[in-house]
């Protein structure tokens, strides 16, 4: 049995207590997307501002547990200021880190994936994979960001 210290690393608790990039952005020009975790009721809204090829700003509102909040906060610092392509690479790498075990829960058997980019602080979330139910908490903001970027790329007609 993994211990709680695997889950609640110091950096995670720090992002939980002091979340970065909280707040809203005017929509438009920013784009907003809301994600739900149907299991626990967590909700997160991601505001993302894309100018040309760059994610110029990203803000977050919503409520959730330490894992979902700190993951969102870390995501915001990891993605803000990056090019769209880089942002997608970060998302892919993070999801891959989570996926082996998320797959376990969802039923899909995705094998491990080579990291495309260094995840830095985000690696602290690796401990979450030992607590499969919490993986959905960690990935909520990332899935919501993906949706936001997708609908920016292909605006609803």
């Amino acid at each position: 049995m993994p211990g709680l210290e695997d889950l609640y690393r110091e950096i995670i608790l720090d992002h939980y207590r002091n979340p970065r990039n909280r707040g809203e952005l005017p929509v438009p020009p920013a784009h907003a997307e809301t994600g739900f975790n149907p299991l626990c009721g967590d909700e997160i809204t991601v505001y993302v501002q894309v100018d040309g090829d760059t994610v110029t700003d990203l803000r977050l509102t919503g409520q959730g547990c330490s894992i979902s909040q700190s993951s969102a906060s870390m995501m915001s610092t990891a993605v803000k200021g990056r090019s769209l392509e880089e942002a997608r690479a970060v998302i892919r790498t993070f999801k891959a880190m989570m996926s082996v075990h998320e797959a376990r829960l969802d039923g899909d058997d995705g094998g491990p994936v080579e990291p495309e980019v260094a995840l830095g602080d985000l690696e602290a979330l690796q401990g979450v994979v030992k607590f499969p139910v919490r993986i959905k908490c960690a990935t909520l903001s990332w899935n919501t960001l993906t949706q936001a970027l997708d609908s920016i790329a292909a605006p609803a007609s």
Binding site: M1, G3, L4, L7, Y8, L13, L39, C40, G41, D42, E43, Q63, G64, C65, S66, I67, Q69, F131, R134, C137
Partner: protein
């Protein structure tokens, strides 16, 4: 099934021995299961009854002439009688077996609602309903434009009935829970049912939490439809019950189509079987019915008044213990008077998210649920995203509550 003799108190120490899972250790500690509102544990008697059935009698029911098929049919129909007795049904033919209470409510929405609810017709619900008693009506609203009204929940966690008559005016159905799975609130079923009938509406009551916790008599409650779910009342997964007054069932069109529910089938049409079989399409949950009967007998032996007294006491003890120990840091949602609630206790502890709280409690092998408890509208009404919920059954005692109280201190250390 009101029992008038004074209840023999519940002997938890001996009951715990009947539940094998309570001997399991998690993280090297004794399991403290405080999530019976989500699903109860099962006594050996229930598992044995199902094993014995499979090992000596199993055959498909209602269609076989040979001995074990006849015996399987008898056991299945005996389970129906036991269930009828347990909830005070007038006749076993008013008892329909479903897969869970969710299917029971959907059956009413689709069959009775399909025949009787049209655009503009009003169904009254409450703000404290479980999704099982919300989504089927929201589906009918989306599909055929029925109107939904909600009885509000007051600050005290009770239903606010100050505007009851106006809310009921013109309604065709009032559907509500007899006990909230989040707040523990016991609702005034008879009072609402009488008012609903006076307004010309029928009454559906979700008994998923109520029947495992108190003596149930559907005719005393004065309702028209009543649903329960097996796995919350010591029974197996895979079975639930819809009770409805005979004349309602008789008049309702069938729900699912298939074997068992027909009288005759031709290439161009079919006629339906008598109730209750009209509503039981396909091979029913036979072993599960046998297990449910064993659960009912187990509860009857304890006596439902004793069960209620035990859970009432434990709830009061938990409220007292937690508030004495944590003061304003711990907020109990719902009524504080144990007479007004069953053994379900949602609470907030400091500003620690329920998910994190539950995770930390698990280190002490304490099982509490964290989340929206399938009652998202109630969460919004309470102004929270989630709650932590401890819930009690006959196999819990004061020591379990004490372990919970101690374990909360750990959460404090990590998140305080």
């Amino acid at each position: 099934m009101a029992i008038d003799a004074p209840a023999t108190p519940i002997d938890v120490a001996s009951i715990k021995k009947d539940f094998p899972i309570l001997a399991v250790e998690v993280h090297g500690k004794r399991l403290v299961y405080l999530d019976s509102a989500a699903s109860s544990q099962k006594p050996t008697a229930v598992l044995d009854a199902m094993d014995r059935y499979y090992e000596t009698t199993h055959a498909n029911v209602h269609r076989g002439v040979y001995t074990i098929a006849e015996e399987a049919t008898r056991l299945y129909e005996d389970a129906r009688k036991a269930m009828a007795r347990f909830i005070g049904a007038g006749s076993p033919s008013e008892v329909v077996f479903t897969k869970n209470v969710t299917e029971a409510i959907n059956l009413v929405a689709r069959s009775w609602g399909g025949a009787n609810l049209h655009a503009g017709d009003v169904v009254v619900l409450t703000e404290m309903e479980h999704h099982a008693n919300l989504v089927p009506w929201l589906q009918l609203k989306a599909e055929r434009g029925i109107e939904l009204r909600y009885l509000p929940v007051g600050e005290d966690g009770l239903l606010d009935l100050s505007d009851l008559d106006r809310t009921l005016a013109g309604a065709k159905l009032v559907a509500f829970t007899a006990m909230s799975n989040v707040l523990g609130t016991l609702t005034p079923v008879r009072r609402i049912a009488d008012a609903a009938h006076a307004a010309g509406a029928l009454v559906l009551v979700d008994g998923a939490q109520y029947t495992p916790a108190t003596a149930t008599d559907v005719s005393e409650l004065g309702v028209d439809f009543y649903g329960v779910t097996g796995h919350k009342m010591l029974g197996p997964t895979g079975i639930g019950v819809l009770w409805a007054r005979a004349e309602l069932l008789d008049a309702m069109p069938p729900f699912l189509g298939g074997g068992e529910m027909i009288r005759d089938v031709r290439l161009d049409g079919f006629t339906t079987n008598d109730v209750p079989w009209k509503f039981e399409a396909g091979t029913p949950p036979i072993a599960e019915a046998v297990g449910l009967e064993a659960a009912v007998r187990y509860l009857e032996t304890l006596g439902m008044d004793a069960v209620r007294a035990h859970e009432r006491h434990l709830t009061a003890y938990a409220i007292d213990t937690l508030t004495a120990r944590y003061g304003d840091d711990l907020r109990v949602h719902g009524p504080l008077d144990a007479d007004q609630r069953g053994g379900v206790l949602s609470f907030a502890y400091k500003d620690i998210h329920p998910h994190d709280l539950s995770q930390v409690l698990d280190e002490s092998a304490v099982c509490v649920r964290a989340g929206h408890h399938c009652a998202k509208p109630l969460m919004r009404r309470l102004g929270v995203g989630a709650t932590a919920r401890a819930s009690f059954s006959i196999y819990n005692d004061e020591a379990d509550v004490d372990v919970l109280a101690d374990a909360l201190a750990d959460a404090d250390r990590l998140f305080g």
